[in-house]
């Protein structure tokens, strides 16, 4: 009896600690995963345009140190040709952007202007549509031209979209450092002939 009591007590303590350790594992494993993966998770989170800020028709919104306004969103059906598939609609989006923070190169890095439909499909700008000359330029070129604070830049992009989905498309603006937040303009495209 004397010899067994301390041994039994030691056993009980050991068993209790084993149980505690197992329960602690439930807490520690997720914690370890968070520590190891949090960098990759942060990169994933800011890599995609996930959270939209709706901008009503005619309105302006701030993004990346500038105030963005959709000047025009025009669409016209295109005949099938050498580089144009059948059933295509050409869409041109034009923005007037008033620069507030002159560090545009950094703020607008990874600038992506796209058209989005209700199901999450995105259309990137195309190069196959020849556009009339204008002082409006592509986003990357506009950023590279070094605008100063207070300047208004005009940005223009063309897109090739299917005719049946064109009316539901909305223009979006996403900038690298601002992701996952991006702007979505509620103004629908207007048909021009």
């Amino acid at each position: 009896m004397n010899a067994r009591d301390p041994a039994a007590a030691r056993d009980a303590t050991e068993r209790r600690w084993r149980r505690h350790s197992l329960w602690l594992l439930v807490l520690l494993l997720p914690l370890a995963m968070v520590v190891v993966m949090h960098d990759s998770a942060r990169t994933w989170w800011s890599g995609r345009a996930l959270i939209a800020r709706e901008v009503p028709t005619g309105g302006e919104a701030d993004l990346g140190g500038a105030s963005w306004r959709l000047r025009a969103l025009r669409m016209a059906p295109l005949p099938a040709g050498k580089r144009i598939p059948e059933n295509a609609m050409g869409v041109v989006a034009e923005f007037a952007v008033q620069v507030q923070d002159a560090d545009v190169r950094k703020n607008w890095a990874g600038c992506e202007i796209a058209l989005e439909d209700g199901q999450g499909r995105r259309w990137m700008p195309t190069r196959v549509l020849p556009l009339p000359r204008s002082e409006a330029r592509e986003c990357v070129l506009a950023a590279g031209s070094g605008p100063k604070a207070g300047d208004t830049v005009r940005i223009r992009h063309a897109f090739l979209v299917p005719r049946d989905a064109a009316a539901a498309l909305r223009a979006t603006v996403a900038l690298g450092p601002q992701r996952p937040r991006y702007l979505r303009f509620a103004q629908p495209p207007t048909l021009v002939q």
Binding site: A80, E86, G120, W123, F159, L160, P162
Partner: protein, 182 residues
């Protein structure tokens, strides 16, 4: 016993390349292959000894040590605009023929820019050894090393054959001809 199990496990562990390799999406001529970014349906495969195209006003003729294989396919992006730049003609014995770099600046050649909802036709041109014509597979992906991303594997079966069992090989194939863009 434990040694035997460990040995079996070591031998059967897939290599790094297989673990992180492309994820195939299967199809064949007439049945579209559906990858993560685009769908591709091969319409026809043609063979020729010479490739003809127009360039800067003059005509260019390309001859090959093997045979020219021209694949015409219909492709459409699924959820966002995508550039299809890479294709491989995998012969029946596993030989991999990359896209020929010789026919440049001719229409309908990669990179093919695909838009969601807008199917379009594009061509892939290869130089292959004549004995690699039958039983081949076309591998198409967005970029050259599709790691852990889907790659279309289109089995080029059921090619129309002539009397000798091989598909007809034309003398010349004109890349300008209709049947490229719709």
């Amino acid at each position: 016993m434990a040694a035997a199990v460990l040995f079996a496990m070591q031998r059967s562990t897939p290599r790094y390349q297989d673990l992180t390799g492309p994820i195939p999406a299967y199809g064949n001529i007439g049945k579209a292959a559906s990858t993560r970014l685009f769908d591709i349906e091969v319409e026809r495969v043609e063979f020729a000894r010479q490739l003809v195209g127009k360039r800067f006003g003059g005509e260019t003729r390309h001859e090959s040590a093997g045979v020219w294989a021209i694949v015409t396919a219909r492709m459409v992006a699924r959820s966002r605009s995508v550039n299809v730049t890479h294709a491989v003609w995998e012969g029946p014995t596993g030989l991999r023929y990359e896209l020929s770099d010789r026919p440049e600046f001719l229409p309908d050649l990669p990179p093919h820019t695909l838009e969601p909802g807008l199917p379009q036709r594009g061509r892939f041109v290869f130089e292959i050894r004549p004995d690699q014509i039958l039983g081949a597979t076309l591998l198409v992906s967005e970029g050259p090393f599709p790691r852990l991303d889907s790659e279309a594997h289109v089995a080029l079966n059921a090619l129309p054959t002539a009397a000798d069992g091989l598909p007809p090989i034309a003398e010349a194939f004109d890349l300008q001809q209709a049947g490229g863009r719709p």
